[in-house]
């Protein structure tokens, strides 16, 4: 069976064009981090795509729907691991008749701190989704109730059957095989699960930093800033757990973390800020961890919505999975908005 969650509801604004020739013609070879990605680039884009200016009529609602894509994915992964099933129809904003998909893969989180923290994050993600929906769909800003502004969950790849061409296999699979000589197993091997959710959390935290600072309405700004704080704290806690596990003999986690940071950096080779892996750095005050990525001035990183989508959706050309979102993001902020189809 497919491990994809129910296809998204029709949504004209968010349906990406699937014109193959268009996509191929603009496809560029992209610098790949560490040679980890077999079978083509994780991200393919063009310099021209990166200079396309998105429409200037985006509203706070559009930004909320943009981040909801991230929350649906993360909540699904946490729920699948902790509860053995993904999100219910009501949480996904889908008709009640839509079944809740079970996670058919065995889940083996033996570290109680990791398991408890994933549980905590699951409830936080569900609170973000419910909070946005409660505010946007029930008369926010004086609108009458029953105006549904929030997007339903998009199609998501949750890697139940270890599909060979999804985001997990492309981002993690080749690297894990190269370093450990085994297959990547999202739910079966605790370390694999940790690096996957940390990779995605780092992207979510940087996505939030960009969109939070765009908000000029104080009420919306409060919502984004509040969740930004949660996401960055969670990102640091997961990276801290990676740092702790990296001390175990034979661990390649430092290398893995740095290679994944390079992969994330590939979304924007032009940026001055290069993403950083968890590692140990030398200072004259002694060794220091590098758990929180910052630049020399202590500033943290942000990612534009386009950079986020290039990492999570890639470019949905034929025979490429769409990484973690096979049909792209739901909502107005999607790759098609940038002319990337």
């Amino acid at each position: 069976m497919s491990d994809m969650i129910e296809p998204k509801l029709p949504d004209d604004a968010s349906t990406p064009s699937r014109r193959a020739e268009d996509g191929l013609s603009r496809r560029n070879a992209f610098k790949i981090a560490g040679g980890a990605l077999a079978a083509g680039a994780l991200i393919s884009t063009t310099s021209s795509a990166q200079t396309i200016t998105p429409p200037n009529d985006l509203t706070e609602v559009d930004y909320i729907n943009f981040v909801m894509n991230l929350h649906y994915l993360q909540a699904s992964l946490y729920s699948g691991a902790i509860r053995g099933e993904f999100l219910s129809a009501s949480v996904r904003g889908l008709p009640a008749s839509t079944p809740t998909e079970p996670n058919l893969s065995p889940v083996n989180l033996t570290d109680p701190v990791l398991r408890d923290f994933v549980t905590e994050m699951m409830f936080a993600e569900l609170a973000h989704i419910a909070g946005f929906r409660n505010n946007l769909d029930q008369g926010f800003l004086g609108e009458p109730p029953a105006v549904i502004r929030t997007i339903p969950a998009p199609a998501m790849t949750l890697n139940v059957n270890a599909v060979m061409d999804d985001g997990y296999s492309r981002v993690f699979g080749g690297m894990i095989r190269e370093l450990y000589g085994r297959a990547f197993s999202l739910y079966g091997i605790e370390e694999d699960y940790l690096i996957a959710i940390s990779y995605l959390k780092d992207i979510a935290a940087t996505a939030y930093q960009a969109v939070a600072d765009l908000q000029t309405d104080s009420l919306y700004r409060d919502m984004f800033v509040s969740i930004l704080g949660t996401q960055t704290a969670q990102a640091a806690i997961l990276r801290d757990m990676i740092y702790e596990r990296a001390q175990q003999p034979g661990s390649r986690l430092i290398e893995i973390s740095n290679r994944l940071a390079q992969t994330r950096s590939s979304a924007d080779p032009a940026t001055a800020f290069t993403d950083q892996g968890v590692e140990r750095v030398s200072t004259a005050a002694g060794f220091a961890s590098n758990i929180v990525p910052t630049d020399q001035k202590g500033r943290s990183q942000s990612r534009t919505p386009l950079q986020v989508m290039l990492l999570l959706v890639g470019r949905p050309i034929p025979f490429v999975s769409g990484l973690f979102f096979p049909q792209g993001f739901n909502g107005r902020i999607n790759l098609a908005m940038y002319g990337i189809t």
Binding site: H128, S226, R280, T283, A284, A285, G286, T294
Partner: protein, 327 residues
């Protein structure tokens, strides 16, 4: 320092810890920071070239209201930075990043902590480095408007940590320098306090919620990084709590103490909540809390639970420097 784990070779284009970027190149920060037991913090191998050794001060950024809010953040970072600096290196912050307007004071009462776990020492060194960078970042924005470090009391039993321990109902005093577990608890108090104020910095200011872009950009970065630090500290406390439940009880009592002292609002949560792990304290929509300037000051002054307005005490015996000094 132990050598059992090879340090990753640094890519020269990557950031360096414990020195600022261009803004701080050529200043006395590192030299000052490194004066003593082999601890020259870091000499950048190839520092960003600067035309002169004394950068021309730029005009302060932002509105007066924004600068006053940033100056209060700077007061809080002085406290936190000195606490971490003494705990990690045995020395205070470099004096070059402590100058400014208002009454300049010394930080006293702290001392170096002996770490049992070198990995934990590395985490504290990282947090110290980020905090120093944030102090420099805010000072760069504020320029001539930046406040000086006020008098800071970091002493244990006889000082603010004794008051926290007593207020939180500890059966023994809290000496945050006694060992790494105690340091985690002391850090837990201070860092959770500053996170909530950094969130406040990001919120509405008059007609434009974003405010001056440079100020907003600095606020969003410091909030992100400080929130990350808070997560690391809370995880560290929890790890100790798995070995000794008393540690968790103490941390949760410190959270209750903050909640009681900052005013009527419930703005704090422990590391466990009803027996469940709670590494990220969250309120509505699963987001973090914010504290107003007055609430921040109540927790730095260690105000008794009353509605009186006070302007000094606790970590800041002579009060904060700047305009926002009353609870």
């Amino acid at each position: 320092m132990d050598e059992d784990l090879p340090a990753i070779a640094l890519d020269p284009t990557r950031r360096r810890l414990l020195y600022g970027g261009a803004a701080m190149a050529g200043t006395a920060l590192l030299a000052a920071c490194g004066s003593g037991n082999g601890g020259a913090i870091i000499t950048p191998p190839t520092p960003t070239p600067t035309p002169t050794s004394t950068p021309t001060p730029s005009a302060p950024v932002g509105t007066v209201e924004e600068r006053d809010q940033l100056n209060l953040a700077l007061n809080a970072l002085y406290v936190e930075g000195q606490f971490l600096s003494f705990a990690v290196t045995g020395q205070g912050l470099p004096t070059a990043i402590l100058t400014g307007t208002g009454a300049s004071g010394q930080a006293t009462g702290a001392r170096r902590v002996t770490f049992a776990d070198p990995r934990l020492a590395e985490r504290f060194t990282e947090i110290l480095a980020n905090t120093i960078a944030h102090i420099a970042l805010l000072r760069e924005l504020l320029s001539s408007y930046a406040v000086a470090q006020p008098t800071i009391d970091l002493s244990a039993a006889a000082g603010p940590f004794g008051a926290i321990a007593a207020g939180a109902g500890f059966t023994s005093p809290l000496d945050p320098y006694a060992d790494e577990t105690s340091l985690l608890l002391g850090s837990f108090y201070l860092i959770d306090v500053s996170v909530t104020y950094f969130k406040q910095l990001m919120l509405g200011r008059g007609s434009s919620a974003r405010g001056t872009p440079e100020v907003a950009a600095a606020a969003v970065s410091t909030l992100s990084t400080k929130s990350a630090h808070a997560g690391m500290i809370r995880l560290g406390v929890y790890r100790k709590g798995l070995l000794s439940p008393d540690v968790l009880n103490q941390a949760n009592a410190i959270s209750d103490f903050r909640d009681l002292r900052d005013g009527a609002d419930s703005l704090d949560q422990g590391i466990t909540s009803s027996g469940s792990l709670n590494l990220t304290p969250t309120g509505s929509f699963g987001g973090i809390f914010a504290r107003t300037p007055g609430q921040l000051l109540r927790l730095l002054y260690l105000q008794a639970p009353s509605n009186l307005t006070i302007s000094r005490g606790g970590f800041l015996p002579n009060g904060a420097n700047g305009v926002l000094v009353e609870t």
